[in-house]
Point group: C2
Amino acid sequence: MLKKIHHVGVVVPDLEQAMRFWRDLLGLPVVKTAVVQDQGVKAALLKAGESEIELLEPILPESGVGKFLARRGGGLHHVCFQTDDVKNELRKANEKGVQLIDQQPRAGLAGMICFLHPKATRGVLVEYAQPFEE
Amino acid sequence: MLKKIHHVGVVVPDLEQAMRFWRDLLGLPVVKTAVVQDQGVKAALLKAGESEIELLEPILPESGVGKFLARRGGGLHHVCFQTDDVKNELRKANEKGVQLIDQQPRAGLAGMICFLHPKATRGVLVEYAQPFEE
């Protein structure tokens, strides 16, 4: 079962510049910043109620996020739902014939994560995340 | 102050078909459906924790949502933050030189609402909403 929107992913060309809007104007508090080398992104997580806005600046142009930036100039990239059992959600999606990006959950910024294929949803990239135990 | 993500707006070509993914596969409960003639959309709101997913099917091709569908084929359209004082948030944004779509709050599906211009955020359409008193 999906419990909440864990985060909304936003691709930005420049993280520091984006912060002027999301942190300074909207007033969303920064929870975490990180460089995730293997995904090719600099990221910042900002709190909005029980959810977060995840700002993603690509550091590798050939990454998925890098290609999105080149194609679109940035913008809303994905929506991530929190679950207690990412493996089970992925199995259910697979059984219903939903196209997947990840065949198995993997470690990501938000915990154990996986992505469904945007073809499954007519263009919306959906992520499931099961946060790591604190 | 922004309290939470009120909803994430998703443009879909066919609401009934979209429900098969968002309601039936993801299991998000439907809170409300509505036809909003003056915005040219059929809408469904689905609950995800304290937030909602707002599915929008355009019924008028010349509406903003209709043009988005024609250009992109659907996808993540906007993110809406809940506030107790939409008028004050709009004034603050205006004072900081943020480009606005709405100069004044107006009645919308989520309460009194307004949109900032996506130019302000490098391509993300941001909405503020102050829900109507119950």
